[in-house]
Amino acid sequence: MMLLDLFFAKAYAQSGTQAISLWERMQPPLDISENGHLIDWLFAYTTAMNIFFFFFVCLGIFGFSYLYSAKRHPKAYYTYGNKKMHILIATAIGLSVFIAVDMNITRISNNDYMNVFANFPDEKEEDVFKVQVMAQQWAWNFRYAGSDGVFNTDDDIITLNDLRLPVGKKIVFQIISKDVIHSFYLPNARLKVDAIPGRITRMWVQLNKAGNYDIACAEMCGTYHYRMQAYLTVYNEEDFAYWLAEAQGSAEIENDLDNPDLYWGWKWQTQK
């Protein structure tokens, strides 16, 4: 471990980035969402369980290799492993892994998924902020409904690779792709969903930290897949209202109503 640390100390001295420890480097990006901690927690829980069981695997491999090498243990114990006791132990191991790890994480993950990530906010009851996303090779198009609250109209705010969102509101995305399959990936919110030509996929998120973050495409989409980057700016409420008003103003002036490319949006698909 010390050797590794030394190696990394050297490597980043060369790369010129600021010096942080290996442990800090291994951390996932800052979590800016209300629900991302559920995923981080489940990851940590699974890791703890894995370390626990893998410890026994290693104990078996290295311990038995040490104790029962031909030198130390010249006469092997003759057994087929079909005694009642043997079968019992093997079954107990199988079931303990299944119950302690698998059933637990399946239950937790299922609860999280059904109650949070796939449980979209009710658009009639709640104040939901809606954004349409269209992926294309190799850029992200975003569309806000504008002052009339209806998508694909003259007053829509349209941005390219520049997504600005408010803190605290539930945000629902409807996502589509123009050409090939992309994947809308918010590393800071621990979420991604594919953008597929011909079908609308959805994602919802609630953010809680203002700042500047990255949006990436996670699905191979061609040569410049790695360049399909967009910027996420998260504002607190006042700043967002200010930006939205400004963007609305310039959209109403600048939108070229004769350009058919302006109308790539669609009627918002209300579900529930």
């Binding site: 114990y77 492993g81 079968i87 790890v101 999280d112 991604k192 030509p197 079908r199 040569t223 790695y226």
Partner: protein, 577 residues
């Protein structure tokens, strides 16, 4: 239980009939081995180039870079990078691991270990190899077409793989190569299944077969069922590309059509998930046997291991949806696939317990095949456990299509299978070529490979958890990935060390095959399965007399055996005190 006489044919005499158009399962096995090793080298070279681009973006690739990419002054360009990882995946899976684990060991071990003179269908066997050569020729040819080879990833999802994303002829040739290879593997699979069912030596029940044969048998069954599915999928893709159909095209602005790109993902992963088990099952079988052979102790719960492998085979066909969580399937399907995926851990844990039970209280000889087998237990433990994160839907939302996935599937499909394959090569070397490889260099090779691959694949899981997504030419255009630069450099260095370590293997192997003249005896490892009852290297028609099997394959350490002997052949009555 032979249904028909197995005649002894004349030995082929001409060079052509002996080495090229050979019907002999042993020669075909060796052909597949050379073919696989050659592609392993090519695929490995591509891996090093991929790693180079990731660790040192914008730096010319050393030595050969100037010749290969003169236009960019030796720097790997992004479109070539996409071809590299596409070809790396395709070559490693279909042209390196499949021929070595299934083509070579399947052909070599099945008749010898079940006491048969050859495969049931020698002609189909020969055709299976030559179809594989044809397929490889198409794939290699595609590298030299204008616009280059396929570059949509080895999964080649439409619509990227249709003419919208890949206009070049390379992608069509890729589909064609996979289709031809599917035909080759299906022929082989049908042959294996039939041979195992009909040609087992008299007295050999299914549970008297070595576990290697169990693994190969289950693999062949999966192959025969699911490769045609992939064949159908790529055929439809060829239709979309060449004849203008729209199976996988759907109607946004740039594409139009009444199909569905997600359909291909279903077709692909119905095949693709079993494919993982197609690759790993032979390695599991080999490891289960070798652990018992070198612990000098019967395989612990051999029947349970065989049944656990069988239930995994069945389950593997029911879980493919976990590859598609982010396409937003119906939540009911998501729940179903998640739960089914998790049940795989029961049989896996059982045979893991059995592997450890096999070496428990054994008398372990640390030969090179044994070291590699223990290595498989270690890396497959890591690979299997990290699958849990990807099988649970919420963690998969974050980790899907990141390097965590890459690390995970390399642990299961590359590390375990590669180590299992090496174990097999070291072990059956005397029976194949009549000589043993140098033990010292074999062990050096093991430790370099072991450290190298853990550095590479564990590092990949770390950067994946750090959020780095897959198939990036230059990940460092993203702010949040800046921290991962030194870890990526470390991975690349591990990969280079590991790649260089394989040179030891190649030299050792070539030396043992061509330049070593020694008499290793019929049974250098002191093992009792049927192939060790015949001379090394194996004579033209294997068994002069078809053997009669009287006991199981793992009879070691029976206290009733005479002094100085701790194993017995399968042809001997079980020793009783």
């Amino acid at each position: 239980m032979a249904f028909f006489e197995q005649h002894i044919h004349d030995k082929p005499t001409t060079f052509l009939s002996k080495y090229i158009i050979s019907y002999d399962h042993k020669v075909i096995a060796k052909q597949f081995l050379w073919y696989g090793i050659a592609f392993l080298g090519l695929g490995g070279m591509m891996a090093i180039m991929i790693r180079w681009a990731l660790a040192y973006p914008g730096v010319p690739f050393p030595v050969i870079g100037q010749f290969m990419f003169p236009a960019t002054d030796g720097v790997i360009p992004p479109d070539t990078y996409a071809m590299l990882f596409t070809m790396h995946g395709t070559i490693m899976i279909f042209y390196a691991i499949t021929p070595i684990l299934i083509g070579c060991f399947g052909n070599f071990c099945i008749p010898l270990m079940i006491g048969a003179r050859d495969m049931v269908f020698p002609t189909a066997n020969m055709l299976s190899f030559w179809f594989a050569v044809l397929s490889a020729a198409i794939l290699v040819f595609s590298l030299f077409t204008p616009l280059g080879a396929a570059a949509g990833g080895w999964t080649s999802y439409p619509t990227l793989s249709t003419f919208i994303g890949s206009p070049g002829v390379g992608q069509t040739l890729w589909c064609l190569a996979i289709f031809v290879l599917g035909a080759s593997s299906t022929m082989g699979a049908v042959n294996y299944i039939t041979t195992i069912i009909t040609l087992r030596a008299p007295g050999m029940g299914y549970f008297d077969m070595p576990l290697t044969i169990w693994g190969l048998w289950l693999t062949a069954i999966l192959n025969a069922i699911f490769l045609p599915v992939l064949g159908a999928g790529v055929l439809l893709l060829i239709f979309d590309r060449v004849f203008g159909t729209t199976f996988f095209l759907a109607g946004a602005a740039a594409t139009s059509g009444s199909g569905d790109p997600v359909l291909f993902q279903h077709v692909f992963w119905i095949f693709g998930h079993p494919e993982v088990y197609i690759l790993i099952l032979p390695a599991w079988g080999i490891v289960s046997d070798l652990l018992s052979f070198f612990a000098r102790k019967p395989a612990f719960g051999a029947k349970a291991t065989a049944l656990a492998m069988t239930s995994i085979t069945v389950l593997s066909t029911l879980v493919y949806g976990h590859h598609m969580f982010t396409t937003q399937m119906s939540p009911l399907l998501t729940q179903t696939f998640m739960t089914l995926t998790m049940t795989i851990s029961i049989p896996s844990a059982i045979f893991f317990a059995n592997w450890l039970g096999t070496i428990w209280k054994g008398s372990i000889r640390f030969t090179s095949p044994m070291l590699f087998s223990l290595g498989v237990v270690f890396v497959f433990g890591l690979g299997g456990l990290t699958g849990l994160y990807l099988g649970t839907v919420t963690t998969d939302l974050y980790l899907h299509d990141t390097y965590f996935v890459v690390g995970h599937f390399h642990y299961t499909m590359a590390a375990s299978v590669l180590l299992g394959g090496f174990a097999g090569i070291y072990f059956w070397m005397p029976k194949m070529f009549g000589s043993l490889m140098n033990e010292f260099w074999a062990k050096v090779h093991f430790w370099i490979t072991m450290f190298g691959l853990n550095g590479v694949f564990f590092g990949m899981m770390i950067v994946g958890y750090g959020g780095m997504h897959r198939r990036l030419y230059n990940p460092f255009v993203y702010d949040y990935l800046q921290n991962l630069i030194p870890i990526n450099t470390f991975i690349t260095m591990s990969a280079i060390v590991m790649g260089a370590g394989q040179i030891i293997f190649v030299i050792n192997f070539v030396h043992a095959v061509f330049f070593k003249d020694e008499d290793v005896g019929d049974n250098p490892w002191e093992v009792g399965t049927l192939e060790w009852t015949v001379p090394s290297p194996t004579p033209h028609y294997n068994f002069k007399e078809i053997p009669v099997v009287k006991c199981g394959p793992h009879e070691f350490g029976n206290p009733a055996l005479p002094e100085g002997r701790d194993f017995q052949f399968q042809t001997e009555e079980i020793a009783k005190a």
